[in-house]
Amino acid sequence: MEDFSTLIGGIAGDGINEAGLTIGHLFSRLGYRIYMYYDYPSLIRGGHNFSLIRAAGNKIGTHKEKVDVLIALNQETLEKHRERLKDKSFVIYDADKVKPKESKSNGCGLSVSQILKEEGAIPIMKNSCILGGFCRVVGIEWPVIEEVMKKHIPNKLELNLKVARRGYDSAVEFCRMEKLDQESLPIMTGNEAVGVGLIKAGLKAYVAYPMTPSSSLLAFMAQSAPDFGLKVIHPENEIAVMLMAQGFAYAGIKAAVGTSGGGFCLMTEGLSLAGQAEMPVVILMAQRVGPSTGLPTYTAQGDLHFILNAGQGEFPRFVAAPGDAEEACYWSGTALNMAWKFQVPAFILTDKSVSENVYSLEISASEVKAEAPLLWDAQGKYSRYKYSETGVSPLAYPSRKGQVIKANGYGHDEYGITTEDPKIAVQMADKRLLKGQALAKEMGNYETVKVYGKSGGKAALLCWGSNKGVCIEAGEQFGLKTVQVVVLSPFPAERVKESLKDAERVVAVEGNSTAQLARLAGFYGIHVDEKILKYDGRPFSLDDLVSEIGRVLA
C-alpha cells in the first residue's frame, strides 16, 4: 500500500508523540515519505493525545480522516476515533484496557500488562510491546524494528526488544508494507528543521522563553549547543529575550529568538527597537489559537497581520511562512541571511502544524549557506548609521581601536548620536525605506511564490504556511493549481498576480476566521472570490478540504 495511515491514541503521559515518531521511523526505513500530525491538549497527565502517521510514496504534508490501522492504548481512543475506521481497517489494542465492540473491523488485542509483568518491564515499555505488535500487523520484518529500536530507543534496549518481540509474536499479520525503492529520509518536526536551517546559515545564539508551539526549538537548540558552539539562553521573559538578541547582534553574534503570539506581544517594543537601531534579529513566531491564551496546543494562522504590523513606527521587515520542514529549514537560513544583509528583523512565521508535525526532509531541497553581511572597510572614522544607496550601513563590532560604535533606539544621526533634527529624521526614515526596497529587490532572486498543479483550471487555491500540503493534494484531485505565498513581507504582489491571472476564480484557504492573506492580497488589488476557512484549532484533513472545495465550486 503506498498511502497508509496509522493512528495511535492514549492519555498524555503515554508517550504518544514518541510512539508516533517511532512508527514514522519504521515506515521511513522502508523508503516511505512521512507526515505525522500530533494532537494533544494542554496538560501533562491524562486527557486524550493522538498521533496520526501517514506514510506514502511521495512527499506529503497532510493527513486523511480515515485510517488503516488504529492503535488504542485506552477505550477513549477507540470511542473517539471509531468513525475513522474503514471496512477493512485493523485495530490493535491493549487488551487489558480496551474492550472492542465492533465487528466491522479486524483487530487484535495484546495482553500488554501480562507481558510487561512476565518480562519485569516498567509501564512505559508498553509502547514497545504495542509497536512490536504493530510491526507484525503491517508486515514489517523483525530486523527492521530491531534496528529502529536500537537507534531511537537505546535506553534499556534489551528489555525493550524482549517486550517488543512478545508483542510481535502475539499479533497477526493484516497487510504487508513493501519496502519502496527509494532512499530513507530523515524525519523532523518543522521546529527542528528551523534549527537546522538557522545553524546552516551561521547562527551563534538562540534566546527564548518557553511557549508552545515554539518550545521544541529551544529544546533542540539547547541540545545542539555543545556540538555547534551555540549560546542558548532562557531568560526571565520575552522582553529580555528580544533585547538580548540585540545585545548579541550589536556584538556581532548572529542570534535568533522563538515564541508564539502572547510571548511575541511582549517582544513588540524590542522589535521596534530593532527597527530603529537597525539590529538584525530572527524571530520564529509559531502561531497557535488566540486571542490570549486561546487554545495553546492547537494550530491557527491568526497572527499574519499582527506580525506584518507589530511595533510602533515604520520599518522594513522580512516575513516568510514555510509550509513544511524542508521550507522551514531553507527559509530559516534565508531569514538569518536577510536579517544581517539588510539589518532588519526577519520572521519565520509558522503555526503549530508546521512547527510540531513531522515531515520527511530532503536536505538537498533545503540548501542554504551563510552569507556575509556588509562589513566596514576600516577606512576613516566609523559611523554606525552611514547613509548609502541601499540604506544599508557597513557593520563593525566592538572593540575596534580608535573607533566608537554607537547603536541607538532614539532618532539619531549617522554617527549614532541622538537628534530630533527634522531633516535628519526624514533622512533616517528614508534610509529605512531604502533598506526595504533593497530587500524587496533581493527577493527577486528567491522563489517567494510557489505554484503547483495544472494551470488554466477553473480555479486556483491561494494559501500560505501549513496549508501548502493539503492544498496541493486536494487541488490535484480537482485539477486545480495551488499558489502558495511564502514571503509575506515584502509582499510579492506582482508574482502573486501573475500566478493567479489564468484562474477564473481564486479560492483562499486559510486557518483563520477573517481570511488574512486574502485581505493582504486585496490591498494589492488581488481579488479573492471564495474563502475556505478553518479556525477550530485543527488542521484541514485532505477530506475536509476536498469536501469544502467541492462545495465552493458547485
Binding site: P226, E236, L243, Q246, F248, I253, I363, I405, A407, G409
Partner: protein
C-alpha cells in the same frame, strides 16, 4: 588620555545643577584612568535606558547602545556573553530599572554576570516632568499623585543584596571624588556590581539640602558580611526626614558567575565544513 577627550559634539541638555553632571564627569575620569592603566577605552561598552540618565551615552565618546526604557540589562548581559573581553557598564534610572525593568534587575543580580549597573536615583521622573518613582517617599506629591503617593518606597540596595548582587555601593552626586572611587571599584569588581547614586534632580526633586545634612560615609564595615550589609542598608529606608544616609561600599563578595557556571558556554567557532559535518550527524540521527 585626558577625560575631556571622552566628550562628544552632542549638546548637553541636562538642567543646570543636575546631579547627572557629577556622574558624567566621574565616569569620564574613571574611564580615562582605566585606559591609562591598560584597560583600553575601545573595550568599554555603555548601555543606557530612557530617562534623563540615558543621555549620558550621547555625551561619552565610547561604544554604546542607547536602549529603551527599563531594558538596559538584557542588552548588556548579551553583549558581555557575546564578548567576555568587553567591560559593560549600564546606566539606568529609578523609573527605568526599578519600575519598567525590575525583572531584569533582579535576574541580573541573580545571574551575577560581570557587568556594572549605575543607578541614577533621583527619586522622581524627570523627562515626563515630575511623577513619583519606586524610591519616592510615601506621600510624594507628583503629577500622577497630587494628593501624595500611597506606596512605601523600595530600598534598591536591599533588593540587590537578597537577589545575589556581589557588589553593592551607594554614592551621592555631591562628592565627585568619592563617586570616582566607587565607580572604579564597581567596574573592576568581578560579578554584578550595583552602584546607586543619589542623583539630585534640581527641577522636580531638589534634595541637596536634605542629603547634605544626612549623608555620611560608612567606614570599617565588614563588606563581606551579608548581615552587616543588610543592617547598614536598612538603616535608611528612603522615607522620613531624620535617618542618616550611609554612603560607600556596603557589600562585596567573590561569587560564582553565570558565565563561569553555564555548561558548554565557550563559543566554538565552527567553520562551514565542520558545521555541515555536524548537521549531517543530526540528520543521520533523524533517519
Amino acid at each position: 588620555m585626558n577625560p575631556k577627550d571622552l566628550g562628544t559634539y552632542a549638546k548637553n541638555t541636562w538642567c543646570p545643577g543636575c546631579g547627572n553632571f557629577s556622574i558624567l564627569n566621574a565616569m569620564k575620569a574613571v574611564l580615562a584612568e582605566l585606559d591609562e592603566e591598560g584597560f583600553p577605552i575601545e573595550k568599554v561598552v555603555l548601555v543606557s535606558g530612557i530617562g534623563c540618565h540615558g543621555k549620558i551615552v550621547d555625551y561619552l565618546n565610547v561604544n554604546s547602545f542607547y536602549s529603551i526604557h527599563g531594558r538596559t540589562l538584557p542588552v548588556a548581559m548579551a553583549i558581555k556573553l557575546a564578548n567576555p573581553e568587553l567591560k559593560v557598564i549600564c546606566f539606568s534610572g529609578d523609573g527605568d530599572c526599578l519600575a519598567e525593568g525590575l525583572d531584569h534587575l533582579i535576574f541580573a543580580a541573580k545571574r551575577n554576570l560581570d557587568i556594572t549597573l549605575v543607578l541614577h536615583d533621583n527619586r522622581v521622573y524627570g523627562l515626563t516632568t515630575g511623577q513619583y518613582t519606586p524610591t519616592s517617599p510615601q506621600g510624594f506629591k507628583g503629577k500622577s499623585t497630587p494628593l501624595g503617593s500611597a506606596e512605601l518606597p523600595m530600598n534598591p540596595p536591599e533588593l540587590m543584596l537578597v537577589s545575589g548582587a556581589s557588589y553593592i555601593a551607594r554614592g551621592y552626586s555631591h562628592g565627585i571624588e568619592f563617586l570616582q572611587k566607587l565607580f572604579k571599584e564597581a567596574i573592576l569588581h568581578k560579578g554584578f556590581s550595583f552602584m546607586e547614586v543619589l542623583q539630585v534632580c534640581m527641577t522636580y526633586n531638589n534634595l541637596y539640602e536634605s542629603y547634605n545634612k544626612r549623608v555620611y560615609e560608612v567606614k570599617d564595615n565588614d563588606t563581606s558580611s551579608f548581615d552587616e550589609a543588610m543592617r547598614i542598608i536598612r538603616s535608611w529606608s528612603y522615607d522620613g526626614p531624620e535617618a542618616p544616609i550611609p554612603l560607600g561600599k556596603f557589600y562585596q563578595v567573590d561569587a560564582p558567575r553565570f558565565d563561569q557556571i553555564f555548561p558548554g558556554f565557550e563559543l566554538k567557532d565552527l567553520g562551514e565544513a565542520d558545521r555541515e559535518t555536524e548537521i549531517r550527524k543530526v540528520l543521520e540521527k533523524s533517519i
